[in-house]
Subunit: 253 residues, 2 copies
């Protein structure tokens, strides 16, 4: 098995997507959690920490818990409002433990990381917003974000430590970056939208000619077929094979 770190190293050199992701801690009570957050961030390659009205900062406990990530603490930006911490971001996610009766779209940690990287990969600044240790984010704070991310947890005790929630989110960002980088390699081989559509048209024509498809209601069957092939992410060569089969079988229709 290839070592994950090889893959990551390569990716980290290629892309600085993680530099465009900031972590915002709002109204943190315990300075130890700020230090532990800095450490969690740095272990996954993130550096930009914003603190909205921290109760105690700087603080020796923050420094102690940061271990060798004190540089992240030193560079932390202290803001007196969430608006200032969100300055220049194009997209932000509110991390919450509870479901909320809000119109926001809710993602789990893995899907949420994908959404954030969609922008960060294009070098557009995005933010992850974490609330108070005891009461989480206010509705007003959540309303300034575009999506909600819920970290899957034990419903009987979903109360993750703040820095541990940061650890999971930053881990998922790093994992997703690795997979993105792998996908990118594959992308060269993938069939284009136009070619796939031409295949569907070819197939539909033959299905009609052979009377397998009811011309009155062709939609449903074609939708099922689209769903099947959408899952495969057809490669160029595979598409050529499928078109070849259709051409061969279609000679007599």
């Amino acid at each position: 098995m290839a070592k994950p770190s090889d893959e990551l190293n390569r990716n980290m050199n290629e892309s600085s997507a993680l530099d465009f992701i900031r972590v915002i801690l709002s109204h943190t009570s315990h300075p130890g959690n700020i230090g532990a957050t800095a450490r969690a961030m740095k272990t996954m390659g993130l550096n930009a920490l914003h603190l909205v009205n921290p109760k105690h900062f700087p603080h020796e406990e923050a420094t102690a818990r940061a271990a060798n990530a004190v540089n992240v603490l030193q560079r932390a930006i202290i803001c007196d409002s969430l608006d200032k911490a969100l300055n220049n971001t194009v997209f932000s996610a509110a991390i919450t433990a509870r479901s909320r009766e809000l119109s926001h779209e809710v993602f789990d940690a893995r899907q949420g990381a994908k959404e954030l990287l969609r922008y960060a990969n294009q070098q557009q600044p995005v933010a992850l917003l974490f609330g108070r240790e005891n009461s989480g984010l206010t509705s007003e704070e959540v309303s300034k974000c575009q999506i909600i991310i819920q970290i899957p947890a034990n419903p009987e005790y979903p109360s993750l430590n703040l820095a541990n929630a940061v650890q999971i989110m930053t881990y998922e960002l790093r994992m997703e970056l690795t997979e993105k980088s792998t996908q990118k390699d594959d992308n060269d081989k993938l069939a284009s939208f136009n070619d796939v559509e031409a295949f569907y048209a070819h197939l539909e024509k033959l299905m009609s000619a052979s009377e397998f498809l009811d011309p009155e209601k062709p939609k449903l069957l074609m939708q099922r077929i689209r769903r099947l092939f959408a899952r495969t992410r057809l490669e160029k060569e595979e598409l050529q094979i499928l078109r070849g089969i259709l051409s061969a079988l279609g000679k007599r229709w």
Copy 2:
């Protein structure tokens, strides 16, 4: 989007796989890390904590950091050797930050969680072993495990806090359980091996009849097609559609 917690609730009732996964901390120096580990475990639904020669335990700092997971601390089993902590397990994973020159197979956190659940899902006890805060696991400790799990991290600073490493691993176990449960639902719909083979035979016959397939070397093309459909994990209904198309187009061959 379905709420992740609904999915998990259902799954947790169905299966107690997490009850068969123990976390072992070897020679922990800081009692706060033991408490934080208990909390990390409980937030993801794990309860069995084993401590090999902890430096200070029980300790008020452990209790404080455990928050509402003190029951996990109270149930923790203290062992004077790793062998005792591994008692009755059928499989165990050593969590390490560094690569090692050992013959162990190395998995990342996600793949490692899958391996552990392979046994835990069959109600066989497994263990995750974490070492000292500063020096990690000894080679002798690693040698008592079947696999190594490396958590992907920043190569320049891969030093995760102990409880944060536990948090990521237990999170991955919970995520994998959810996905397993989703897969199980889908499995009812999946086409059987025999039906898929019958489809390949049908397709190969028509490809030969229409002279698309070179009968001298049919293998390579059929392998490509198998690879394509293997990725989709064909459902029963989809297979019926594909067979229907082949029957319709095949009428004239």
